[in-house]
């Protein structure tokens, strides 16, 4: 009962949130929502112990696919967003054949190379990817009304509600997967792959499964982004964005479900509200870099470890014991 009340209060707060913000802050809220999905899906991959540097490009695959589905085939936007995610997941399955011959550092570099190849293909082939300038004039989400509220998707508030609902469903699914025997198997693959294999776990299949799910949700995130901003190009998904995702995950910590989300929210608030308002726009990468270094040096388990410390005083039996290995 108490949990339900907290949940309802949270939902009301999230619905009311944009109305207290300026237009540009509302826009940031939309991006933040999408980024939360991006970083949470990234965490699912890290559950199996693999760190990819191609996740943002995979997100871009979802964005390009959904943009092209609507543009070239006239598919209804909500459907094409879903198809964008499916395309990204299928591509991940294909990529898993070369990539999962490698582990650890080699996987990291391999995923980076695969991502760069995809980005260069977008750059090189004007048809259908639009070359370096990318795709412009992507169909927006068609407006509709649900009686009490008219959705106009050029308005960030409307798009925030839409993406918020989609992301909430996706996060719920990710949460269910992590808390299931499948999630336990992901952990097993991470910590002792040989013992997991001796227990009958097909390592390749589970690594591929995690990669495909993570990529699928990243693809949905990319598609949501594409239909909001209306224009995408290869540089929207370059390594710099990947570094941001990595920073969110590391600053937040990857040991818990909420860790990366926490990192994403805290750094976005710091970045957009504090730095931008204070006019430090140009120093953004510098400050991000410094935060990355300081947090890996002095807080290697992320913000979540701070949260855990606070809460463990109240409820000592609540420790999950799954720590971030960074």
């Amino acid at each position: 009962m108490r949990n339900l009340l907290i949940f309802l209060a949270g939902a009301v707060a999230l619905i009311a949130l944009p109305h207290g913000l300026s237009f540009s802050q509302q826009e940031i809220l939309v991006f933040l929502t999408i980024n939360i999905l991006l970083v949470s899906s990234y965490r699912l991959l890290t559950l199996t112990g693999e760190w990819s540097l191609g996740h943002v490009v995979i997100m871009g695959v979802g964005a390009y696919a959904s943009a092209l589905f609507t543009k070239e085939m006239g598919i209804y936007v909500p459907v094409s967003i879903l198809l964008g995610g499916i395309t990204a997941a299928l591509l991940a399955v294909v990529l898993s054949f070369p990539l999962f011959r490698m582990k650890g550092f080699y996987f990291l570099i391999g995923s980076f190379a695969a991502g760069e190849i995809i980005r260069l293909l977008w750059k090189r082939f004007r048809d259908p990817f639009g070359g370096p300038k990318g795709i412009k004039g992507i169909d927006p989400m068609p407006d509709f009304s649900i009686g009490i509220y008219d959705f106009d998707f050029f308005e960030p508030v409307s798009y925030y509600y839409l993406s918020g609902a989609v992301v909430a469903v996706c996060l719920w699914v990710l949460w269910r997967i992590e808390r299931s025997p499948v999630g336990l198997t992901f952990h097993a693959v991470h910590w002792q792959d040989k013992l997991a294999e001796a227990s009958g776990v097909n390592l390749r299949a589970y690594r591929t499964l995690a990669f495909a799910i993570a990529s699928g949700f990243a693809g949905i995130g990319g598609a949501l982004l594409a239909h909001y901003v209306g224009t995408i190009n290869p540089n929207s998904f370059d390594v710099e964005v990947m570094v941001f995702v990595l920073t969110w995950a590391i600053v937040g910590g990857t040991g818990t479900f909420y860790g990366p989300i926490l990192g994403c929210v805290v750094l976005t608030i710091l970045n957009e509200i504090v730095l931008r308002e204070m006019g430090f726009e140009q120093m953004r990468p510098l400050i991000y870099g410094a935060i990355m270094i300081l947090s890996i040096l002095f807080m290697p388990k992320g913000l979540e470890s701070v949260v855990q410390k606070i809460f463990s005083r109240k409820a000592p039996d609540n420790a999950t014991g799954q720590e971030a290995k960074t």
């Binding site: 190379a113 390594v239 920073t247 590391i250 953004r284 990355m292 270094i293 890996i296 040096l297 960074t326």
Partner: protein
């Protein structure tokens, strides 16, 4: 046609020279410290900006500027070792993340100090060696080739003939055993980091008049260096040199006969292929990652 082949070959030799300077430094750092230095491209950039500042702005003689640039970047490497890699020695992913953070700091310092525009550096020499009417090698490119040959040979002798070199190789092979032999890990890490960064710095300093110097020039360089060290086998200096030459030739010829993007795709695809067939690289044997 023969002229074109010869000219492209010369271009490839030049490319192989500066790529191998960068890749060998990266391999040295990885071998001794076990950390992937993502900021290596930005060390190269720092070398180039050192020349911009000293040679273009302060009118210091070019070769003096290059030497100062190399030592400056070497010291940057020492700072990285002390501040980042030493505290994170037992945490390879942490070292990698920290180096990405350092990359962003260097990059934005360059943006703040020099702006995002490309720097124009007055040519050091207009002299061009003409082999025939259409096969020519600018002298400033020859400097890069000579520097690569001299420095890499010197490094080779240092590693094989001196006590420090022996310690470095021992540390690269088995850090724990080396520590038991009384080799200081901190000492070898400092040497490796100084040499590795210094090589990247001199590559940047020497090529500064030949390329467009801008804050983002490190990106394509680090991608190239990664391809090279993966193909050559992570941790193998010989492999890095051989792979640099091979990559430079493939990339230069594909660029000449098709275009640059296709050449990049070819390079990356070749690397993926090597990773699939022999994940430890052509010359690699020990699995350290």
């Amino acid at each position: 046609m023969l002229d074109l082949l010869a000219q492209t070959g010369l271009n490839a030799v030049y490319a192989a020279s500066y790529i191998s300077l960068i890749a060998v430094g990266l391999v040295l750092i990885f071998g001794v410290m076990g950390v992937v230095n993502f900021a290596h491209g930005e060390l190269y950039m720092a070398g180039a900006y050192a020349v911009v500042l000293l040679y273009t702005d302060f009118q210091i003689p070019f070769f003096l500027a290059v030497a100062v640039g190399m030592i400056f970047v070497g010291c940057l490497g020492l700072a990285m070792e002390r501040a980042l890699f030493r505290p994170l020695r037992d945490n390879p992913l942490g070292g990698l993340v920290a180096s990405i953070g350092f990359l962003m700091i260097l990059q934005s310092l360059a943006v703040m100090g020099f702006g995002v525009r490309m720097e124009h550096i007055p040519p050091v020499t207009q002299h061009v060696i003409e082999f025939s009417e259409r096969v020519r090698l600018p002298l400033s490119r020859l400097f890069v080739i000579i520097a690569a040959v001299v420095l890499l040979s010197a490094l080779w002798i240092f590693l094989k003939r001196t006590r420090f070199g022996w310690a470095l190789r021992a540390a690269a092979q088995d850090p724990e055993a080396a520590a038991l032999q009384g080799i200081s890990i901190n000492q070898t890490a400092r040497i490796a980091m100084f040499i590795g960064a210094g090589l990247a710095g001199i590559a940047g300093a020497l090529t500064a008049p030949l390329v467009s110097v801008n804050p983002h020039m490190g990106h394509s360089v680090i991608v190239t260096a990664f391809i090279v060290i993966i193909v050559g086998g992570v941790g193998s200096l010989e492999g890095a040199i051989v792979a640099s030459v091979a990559y430079a030739f493939v990339h230069t010829f594909v660029t000449t006969f098709f275009d640059g993007v296709i050449a990049d795709i070819t390079g990356l695809s070749l690397m993926l292929l090597v990773l699939i067939v022999k994940p430890t690289g052509l010359f690699g044997s020990a699995d350290r990652a």
